[in-house]
């Protein structure tokens, strides 16, 4: 376990280090993420959705489906907790 764990860590660390230089530098305005989808959201977000906070515009309009199921995740977790912790009838019977 110790050794295999170490190997996995080294492997994971190596992969992350190996790929980092291919990623955009911090704060780079030319990065692909800033060039492709997001510009429209910034430029037209207020106009199209009427939300001044662009994060809100994305969250509840452009990608509202995500947000809906984010709520579903909460429902799942709540129901799950109820299901797991619900007292067992059999045990309480005398």
């Amino acid at each position: 376990m110790k050794w295999s764990g170490l190997i996995i860590l080294v492997l994971a660390g190596g992969l992350l280090a190996y790929s980092a230089p291919d990623l955009p530098a911090y704060g780079d305005p030319e990065s692909p993420a800033s060039q492709h989808v997001s510009p429209r959201m910034i430029e037209k977000g207020y106009e199209e959705t009427g939300a001044k906070n662009l994060v809100t515009a994305v969250l509840v309009d452009y990608r509202s489906f995500d947000t809906l199921f984010e709520a579903v995740v909460i429902l799942v977790a709540g129901l799950g907790a109820a299901l797991v912790l619900w007292p067992d009838h059999r045990r309480r019977d005398p």
């Binding site: 992350l16 492709h36 995740v73 129901l79 299901l83």
Partner: protein, 531 residues
């Protein structure tokens, strides 16, 4: 309803059912299961409707959520692969629910509405995963289905919450690795829509970030699919969870992981530049080959029937991924066909285990003697599924094996050919071990004595030391309710338990003989254009 928003309905209907179930419970216990069945059945109808359109027209059905066209908004898209997966999930979800009528739910006394609600949400997550065409949305649905899955597994035997927790840790690790991978893809392409990502990935060539993203996403889905060294969560979860859960999860749970791997490999990377990342695919192929052999060998060593089937799942998922790693038409079609076939086989097998535990209260392979006489019909279904697992014609399992062998020969990888052939012998070895018990060994008095001894020890609450000392309550409940006429074959089991078993078993033959239709009309369109 228009064609395109039928996709949304597929997801929405079971979700509504899940949401109203806790309320419906107020009306009375009898309302719970019918509501779930209606939700599941309606989803099945929508799924069949959309799939029929996809197969009929040969074109994917699309739905832009919120009216935002991709890549700005989220797109639901049912192409041929999604159609296969959706119909598979919908039909098995419905069948297993029907099975739930037969005594399973009695163990959930007082919380069955939560259970079924969770079951529906699990289905919702799976539907979402196979329908969405957006990476982050896929992650969200992955988490919906995973969280629901953890909770479902936690409802079972004594150790099931522990198994569920271990699954949660590993499963979340998988989901997070996928999230990190998609973060990498987002960082280098700036978009999340599958097709858009694929287009923008193509000019990047042998980008290191793309390679790492591929590795991360494959590892993530590999955990969900229980690819060999990442399968640690699976045996315990399947062994301890309730049969209803396992029948459904084993059928489609891991398959959706394989679906994710397909999407990553062939929708996102293949059209772009998979050729630059061959090592990752090769490693996956080797792991899959090891999975096939290791899973079979481990399955042979088990005395717990459920655990044996769990390890066999590990082995079977290897077939699917091995097919994908061949990167040719036959291999990929074989892999996808095996997703479908194996889903039905495993569903059938686990349903049989469920029926068996309801009847005799245990699942120890060593004590199955004479079951062929006690439950002839159920055991006939078991035999059929076993034959299919071994891959003998004309059952479904043979045909996926056929395409996989063609694929392996096509790819010129003789080691994979050997692995597939040897593993079907191994499958035969462990399934005939069970079948011999079931049909050929007579019950001897010593065994019967052992049986009573174990039954008495497991009745005391503290013992539980053996993993096989299982829930005698389950058995007792059914027997109490039905008049006590044991061993009369189908008579002692309700029709709602027998029907799903029968349907899955017969569909194994139908899938076998209909596989050519499936291949020609559906699977051909799944193979990416370059292959």
């Amino acid at each position: 309803m228009t064609t395109s928003n039928s996709l949304a309905w597929i997801i929405a209907v079971p979700f509504f059912a899940a949401a109203v179930l806790p309320m419906v419970r107020r009306l009375g216990k009898a309302w719970v299961l019918p509501t779930a069945l209606i939700g599941s059945g309606a989803a099945l109808i929508f799924a069949l409707y959309a799939a029929a359109i996809v197969v009929g027209s040969g074109e994917p059905v699309r739905h832009e959520l919120g009216g935002w066209e991709p890549p700005w908004g989220i797109e639901l898209r049912m192409d041929h692969l999604s159609a296969v997966m959706t119909v598979l999930i919908a039909s098995l979800s419905f069948l297993v629910l029907v099975f739930g009528r037969g005594g399973m739910e009695k163990r959930l006394e007082g919380r069955s509405h939560f259970y079924y609600s969770m079951y529906m949400l699990f289905t919702v997550g799976l539907f979402g995963m196979v329908l969405t065409h957006d990476l982050f949305n896929l992650y969200v649905f992955l988490e919906v289905s995973s969280l629901a899955g953890y909770s479902l597994i936690a409802v079972g035997e004594r150790a099931s919450p522990f198994a569920a927790f271990r699954y949660l840790i590993l499963g979340t690790l998988g989901a997070l690795l996928f999230l990190l991978g998609l973060g990498y893809l987002y960082a280098i392409t700036g978009t999340l829509n599958f097709i858009d990502v694929a287009e923008r990935l193509a000019p990047l060539g042998d980008s290191r970030a793309a390679l790492v993203a591929l590795a991360l996403m494959l590892t993530g889905f590999g955990i969900k699919a229980a690819l060999f060294p990442l399968h640690a969560w699976l045996p315990d979860s399947y062994a301890y969870a309730s049969n209803l859960t396992v029948a459904f999860m084993a059928a489609v749970g891991t398959k959706v992981g394989a679906y994710g791997i397909f999407r990553v490999l062939f929708t996102i990377y293949e059209t772009g530049n998979l050729q630059f990342h061959m090592p990752v695919v090769q490693i996956m192929g080797i792991l899959a080959a090891i999975a096939i052999l290791a899973g079979s060998i481990l399955a042979m060593a088990q005395s717990d029937l459920k655990r044996m089937l769990a390890y066999s799942s590990v082995s079977q998922i290897g077939y699917v991924l091995l097919g994908f790693s061949m990167l040719n038409a036959n291999g990929i079609m074989g892999g996808v066909l095996h997703i479908v076939n194996h889903a039905f086989m495993k569903c059938c097998l686990f349903l049989v285990v469920g029926a068996m535990m309801a009847q005799v209260g245990h699942r120890d392979i060593r004590r199955l003697s004479g079951m062929g006489r006690k439950m002839p019909w159920v055991m006939a279904a078991f035999s059929l599924a076993a034959i299919s697992m071994i891959g003998l014609p004309p059952t479904a399992g043979f045909f996926s094996k056929w395409y996989l062998i063609l694929g392996a020969v096509d790819a010129g990888s003789w080691i994979f050919v050997a692995v597939i052939l040897v593993s079907s012998l191994l499958n035969a070895a462990y399934f005939f071990r069970v079948l011999e018990r079931v049909y050929l060994k007579r019950e001897d008095p010593a065994e019967a004595a052992l049986e009573t001894a174990v039954a008495t020890t497991s009745a005391t609450p503290v013992s539980g030391s053996s993993a096989l000392a299982v829930q005698p309550e389950e058995a007792l409940e059914v027997r109490e309710e039905e008049a006590p006429r044991p061993w009369l074959g189908p008579g002692t089991l309700p029709a709602t338990m027998l029907a799903p078993i029968g349907i899955t078993a017969i569909s194994l033959l139908a899938l076998g003989l209909g596989s050519a239709w499936l291949v020609e009309n559906v699977l051909r369109f799944i193979v990416p254009g370059g292959l």
